[in-house]
Amino acid sequence: MFQLKAKLFDNQRVKDNYFRLLLRAPQIAELAQPGQFVQVKIGDGCQPLLRRPFSIHRISQGSPRHHVTTSPNYELIEILYEVLGQGTQLLAQKKAGEYLDIIGPLGNGFNYRATGDGRRATVLVAGGMGVAPLLFLADRIVTTLPLRLRSGQARHHVTRKTVVLLGAKTYRQILCEKDFKALGCAVKIATDDGSRGFKGKVTELLKNILVTSHKSQVTSQAYASCDIKYATIYACGPYPMLKAVSNIAKHYDITAQVSLEAHVACGIGACLGCVVNTRGGYQRVCKEGPIFNAEKIVW
């Protein structure tokens, strides 16, 4: 864990109320794992007083001079956020060149190591802003792991088997579709109002996919040869969505890891403010989490 003053590289509106913040924080970027978060102090005074937690959305190299031949030198971390309250309003006003006091990387991160063996399919399920940590995860799944396998074919394999389900109220809240596609993931969309893709909840879409793959081994081109029966689900989104994902995973007897959101005060495990009820008693979302195996949670 590091506390540092990170220089703001960029702070751009993606669309509507969604922004992308790019910070220079090499120590954090080097260590960061998908699913981990940073605590950001927005403003110097008491308004807001507490830090705000943000998932690490992506990490990248600071300058193009380091290149693929050597191991990448990660320097930048990216945060995807929606302007909702006082804190994010203030954050949206920050300009490149300013500094932000941040702490990270925090929490445990997804355990995605089982994913890249080329046999299992991976399904990422995002509800609204839940997409934030999943892009980093997808990136790691399709790049890092195949890189370790050192085989172009393996990479292709894993890519094909990574399905991303993006859910939102309307098409306007669908984020990162292009980014996932650029990674080679198959993207499916669900909107409550049907303005894009499947009309309904993203969890219904998830169920449909699982049902189809259970009925017939071979399904649509997006996940052909993808044996979804042995899939791992990674989900991030509102609590009811995660609960539904957990039930679905249980029903189909597949594993799911969920990223929980909570009222995080300290973010470092000191205040015990953000616990969740698990089969092993209360656990700290900011420390033992935010990623939990779905079956561990008492929903």
Partner: protein, 313 residues
């Protein structure tokens, strides 16, 4: 020039500086080891420990309020046995004096049982009696938050402090509640009963409501307010108590930086504790120690003790 002297004494305890951490805001210290050199702290006060493990209150337990926060943790802790087995060894290794905060939901006997256990342990430098936690009295309903704290009753406070005093010679600190009409009455009772120091203040009972859902923002509705919002009131209470008692005061409530810490010394505190600020800046304690040193040097004050209660009025 000779180094500025930051040493203070509370009870038998000699602290190398007057910087402590407020119970419940510093975990068991290990949470902060990546950020600061823990040995530099004057003393470490643990999260409050109870006889039996406590799972604490339902969620949500915290929310932000103007210049402050509400918390309703409900003294979640592993209980004294697990604390001694699993937390104390690492705390001891740090090297800073360890003060163990203890409490009981409703049984004064528990305080003595806990104190007896701790009295035997060399690695425990002192005991803080948390008779002022507003989030205890294990109710699970937000409608039943009628809690009478020991720290709201001079007689009850006297009994608990007296009983614990009998079973331990370790430095004894009594933590007072601000949720009283006259805090000096309770401070006086604790002093007469043999406490070595008083610490004040614990959190103020308070509420916050989400008007869209019409639900309280904290599961049990009433919670404890801390942070800069309470500082002026906490300061006034330290000042009042300082004029009535002669044992040292550990001042806290919204200390965020050097100047807010200095306010407490001037109001009569011998030590200060940093609480909520640890969440915002995990380096706050260390930065404040450095800031106090600088202030003393700049004002040509050789000893922190010269500052205590030294208000120009």
């Amino acid at each position: 020039m000779k180094q500025t002297n930051l040493e203070v004494k509370i009870g038998k305890l000699r602290l190398k500086n007057p910087m402590m951490v407020a119970s419940g805001t510093f975990g068991y210290a290990e949470e902060f080891k990546d950020f600061i050199d823990l040995r530099q702290l004057g003393a470490i006060v643990t999260k409050t420990i109870t006889l039996a493990p406590r799972q604490g209150n339902p969620m949500p337990r915290t929310c932000e309020t103007p210049a402050g926060m509400l918390n309703s943790i409900g003294l979640e802790n592993p209980g004294i046995d697990k604390f001694i087995a699993e937390k104390l060894p690492a705390l001891k290794k740090i090297g800073a004096p360890v003060i163990v905060s203890i409490a009981s939901e409703d049984d004064p006997q528990e305080f003595t049982a806990l104190a007896r256990r701790l009295d035997k342990l060399k690695e425990v430098a002192g005991i803080e009696l948390n008779i002022s936690c507003p989030n205890i009295r294990g109710t699970t309903s937000p409608r039943h938050h009628v809690t009478r704290l020991i720290a709201q009753d001079a007689k009850a406070a006297d009994e608990v402090v007296r009983a614990v005093r009998k079973v331990t010679k370790k430095t004894l600190i009594t933590k007072l509640s601000p949720n009283v009409t006259d805090i000096t009455e309770i401070a006086l009772a604790a002093e007469k009963a043999g406490t070595d120091a008083v610490s004040l203040v614990n959190t103020f009972t308070a509420m916050s409501i989400n008007v869209e859902t019409r639900k309280p923002k904290i599961a049990l509705a009433v919670a404890g307010l801390s942070g800069p919002a309470i500082r002026p009131i906490a300061l006034r209470m330290v000042w009042e108590v300082y004029q009535k008692i002669s044992v040292p005061i550990i001042g806290m409530g919204g200390i965020m930086d050097t100047s807010s810490a200095l306010e407490f010394f001037l109001a009569g505190a011998s030590c200060v504790s940093v609480g909520t600020a640890n969440f915002i800046n995990p380096r706050a304690t260390i930065e404040i120690i450095a800031g106090i040193k600088q202030y003393l040097r700049e004002n040509k004050i050789k000893d922190i003790k010269a500052l205590i209660g030294n208000l120009n009025i």
